[in-house]
């Protein structure tokens, strides 16, 4: 059927600069560029271009430019080009529209409407270059009270403490499964997490056997509704286990890793036959209630000899705070809350762009709810979904999070340009693909260095901002909303965030 959709992008080649090296042809898995030997020139098919900019960056002559195609339909406030073209695609295929990455819709980004405090004259600011600044964070259940004995200088903690994860900076890598991302991308995250003394999250695709011994010490392993790749060794080699209930990009629905992405190695890691669809049902079918969740949490604690904190990851949706309270009471040691802008390798566009609430509002509601109920100490909060920079991290913590998960940010550090074509499996950056020719482009050593650099850079910035506020430990900022003010927000938004307006 002839497609009535405009090409999304326009490929412009400067023929003066082009040396006919055919690099662009090799770089593009979508087949955008082809060489015409008769004319000795390269030609581009705009319709195939994903806008990932791989050819632009890798053209040795800087001869290529890729820009959004300027074609337009008669301007119409209701019928945007995107709406018209999505509809046409569905009329042409009869299918559900798929997309990748987090929502790109202009929902209010609260981070950009919140400003931080700094010390002036009184309570002087601290210089992180000469003062020790404490970013170390303990994730997990804290006791209701500490029973301590001090006999002749010997201090002993009598209270039985629960296992906690120790991170040297409050930034963890979000769940991205091997299968959704390439082996090299997965290994880069693992390598960087170990190097930067934080954790990566395996997602629901298992942990390859040959990686278990080396990277188990910085792994959080997931148990999701599909229960892929789970055995007792997988649970025990990790430092924490996360039950994935929901994901910000697609709350309430499951996932299907299509059979063509289930390569031999992915199949081995997920422990399913090669080439079959890996289907994660929408709910865990052994969890239909908080009591059932409690059963699974305890089963995982049993399976790991009560040595690991158990996290439960949910998407931020309406009334989630009440559910989260139930989750804490069900025995979760960590709650990971994933907001509206959380990323994905594949999600129905209708879900990604319409379901859930922003993580900023979610953190604040959750922190407040748990404080009001007197159970905030029983779990840590990891916030996810739309963290872009160090100031987002510090604002998340001041709103009540203990730490953050970064997903998209980590992928961008490795080369991702958020072209949203992850679901095609043709990622030219070697990140979201199982094609060995493409995934081989991602060098684990370089990619993990880029990731570690990012963690290091953000941690420095966090120390700077903390010092500016006159605070020398992240602990003192947690839930400390006095250090935040809102700009350009409605009263209800300030109320939900629990912050004052700027100047107040």
């Amino acid at each position: 059927m002839k497609s009535f959709v405009f090409p999304e992008f326009q490929v412009i080649r400067d023929e003066e600069k082009c040396g006919q090296c055919r690099g662009c042809e090799r770089q593009c898995a979508f087949g955008t560029h082809t060489y015409d030997p008769a004319a000795d020139r390269l030609v581009s098919d705009d319709r195939k271009c994903a806008g990932c900019q791989r050819c632009v960056i890798f053209c040795p002559k800087d001869a290529i430019e890729v820009r959004p195609s300027p074609s337009f339909y008669r301007p119409n406030a209701s019928w945007s080009r995107e709406k018209i073209e999505d509809l046409k695609r569905q009329a042409e295929t009869g299918g559900v529209l798929l997309t990748g990455c987090g929502s790109d819709k202009p929902f209010r980004i609260y981070w950009d409407h919140i400003v931080l405090n700094a010390s002036q004259v009184t309570n002087p600011s601290l210089d992180p270059l000469r003062e020790p600044m404490e970013l170390r964070t303990f994730l997990g259940r804290k006791p209701d009270m500490m029973d301590i004995s001090a006999d002749s200088g010997e201090v002993e903690i009598r209270t039985e403490l629960n296992p906690n994860l120790v991170v040297e900076t409050p930034i963890l890598f979000s769940a991205m499964s091997y299968g959704a991302i390439s082996y090299n991308a997965f290994k880069s995250l693992a390598t960087a997490a170990c190097k930067s003394k934080t954790y990566f999250n395996t997602g629901e695709g298992g942990l390859p056997r040959e990686m278990r011994e080396e990277f188990g010490r910085c792994a959080i392993v997931q148990v999701a509704s599909g229960r892929f790749g789970i055995d007792a060794e997988y649970l025990n080699i990790a430092q924490a286990v996360e039950i994935k209930v929901g994901q910000g990009a697609k709350p309430g629905i499951g996932g299907h890793l299509p059979g063509e992405k289930v390569s031999l190695s992915v199949a081995e890691t997920r422990m399913i036959p090669q080439g079959t669809d890996a289907i994660s049902p929408a709910p865990h079918h052994d969890i239909y209630s908080i009591e059932d969740l409690s059963t699974l949490i305890t089963a995982l604690k049993e399976a790991t000899n009560y040595e690991k904190p158990i996290s439960v990851k949910i998407a931020a949706v309406h009334n989630f705070a009440a559910i989260a309270s139930g989750i804490v009471r069900a025995g979760a040691d960590i709650i990971a809350i994933d907001g509206l802008r959380g990323g994905t390798g594949a999600a129905p566009k209708a879900i990604r762009d319409n379901v859930g609430i922003p993580t900023e509002l979610a953190i604040s509601s959750l922190d407040r709810r748990l404080r009001e109920e007197g159970i905030r100490n029983r779990c840590s909060i990891i916030s996810a979904g739309g963290i872009r920079c160090s100031s987002d991290v510090i604002k998340a913590i001041a709103l009540g999070a203990d730490a953050v998960y970064i997903g998209s940010a980590a992928l961008i550090a490795m080369g991702c340009t958020l072209c949203q074509k992850c679901y095609t499996g043709k990622c030219n950056w070697g990140i979201c693909t199982q094609d060995p020719r493409l995934s081989g482009r991602l060098n684990v050593e370089i990619a993990s260095e880029r990731l570690s650099n990012l963690i290091s850079a953000w941690s420095h910035e966090i120390r700077e901002m903390l010092g500016g506020m006159g605070i020398n430990a992240l602990e003192s900022l947690r839930g400390n909303r006095d250090h935040l003010r809102g700009i350009g927000l409605y009263e209800w938004e300030l109320d939900v965030l629990g912050i004052k307006g700027a100047g107040e």
Binding site: Q90, T93, E233, I272, H285, A299, E302
Partner: protein, 250 residues
């Protein structure tokens, strides 16, 4: 000589502490008496060196018996509650009685034999992988949603009392594995993704094998192997390994 545990008034965690201690001290066989709903029996028995133990349970095993089981053998003389063999990896579970809901959920290896019937959602998302092919044999009947999302393995429901299968939504979303039902089933009782067909000689060989094993475990069964195998069986298999292959606009 089997080690003994009296589980009367012993809490779940304490019971499993003792089981683990026994495993680590080298016990090969344990008998637990007076079990009354204690959960996760067999779950905390992972060791990197792969120690194995045989456990006999007298009484009613609580939820998640043998969850994540790592190669042990557990026999329950009595009923078992929900979640038997949840995400089980290897080993064997024998229930000389009835099992509750979500029996064999997401199980990837090992074998479960249940003498009587079982509840809802049995064998849900059971899957197989290389040498691992889980097996669930139920002597009675199953309730609704048997084998939903099933991706591998073998399920045999014998209905030995001949009450006829009344479960619905059998095999909804099924994309791997096989279910054998003794007797017959209506199209309206199975999911759209399921094909009902008669059993062939290869299937009969599989059935003969597991019926034999079932009867070895439950010699009290009044029906003979020959009688069981002589009766009619139907085979349920998925129509496609890619039930969602055509769902999306690319």
């Amino acid at each position: 000589m089997a080690a003994q545990i009296d589980a009367a008034d012993v809490k779940t965690k304490e019971l499993n502490d003792r089981l683990r201690e026994l495993l680590l001290s080298g016990a090969k066989r344990v008998r637990i008496r007076n079990v009354c709903g204690q959960r996760y029996i067999g779950t905390r028995l992972y060791t990197p060196q792969g120690l194995r133990m045989e456990i006999e349970v007298f009484g009613t095993a609580g939820n998640d018996l043998a969850a994540f089981l790592y190669g042990h053998r557990i026999a329950v003389h009595g009923n078992a509650q929900d979640g038997v063999g949840n995400t089980m990896d290897a080993g064997e579970v024998i229930v000389r009685g009835r099992a509750g809901d979500v029996l064999g959920f997401s199980m990837r290896g090992g074998e479960i034999y249940v003498r009587d019937g079982c509840g809802y959602r049995a064998a849900l998302h059971m899957k197989e992988y290389e040498g691992k092919r889980p097996v669930l044999v139920v002597g009675g009947r199953s309730q609704d949603f048997l084998g939903e999302y099933m991706a591998g393995g073998v399920v045999i429901v014998l209905d030995l009392a001949g009450e006829s299968h009344d479960a619905h939504f059998i095999g909804t979303g099924m994309h791997g594995g096989v279910i054998y039902l003794r007797g017959s089933v209506e199209e309206s009782q199975v999911g759209d993704q399921v094909e009902i067909s008669p059993v062939d000689d290869a299937d009969r060989a599989v059935l003969a094998d597991y019926v034999t094993r079932f009867l070895e475990r439950f010699p009290e069964t009044e029906v003979t192997k020959e009688e069981i195998l002589a009766s009619g069986f139907v085979r349920l298999t998925p129509r496609s390994r890619r039930p969602y292959g055509n769902l999306y606009a690319y």
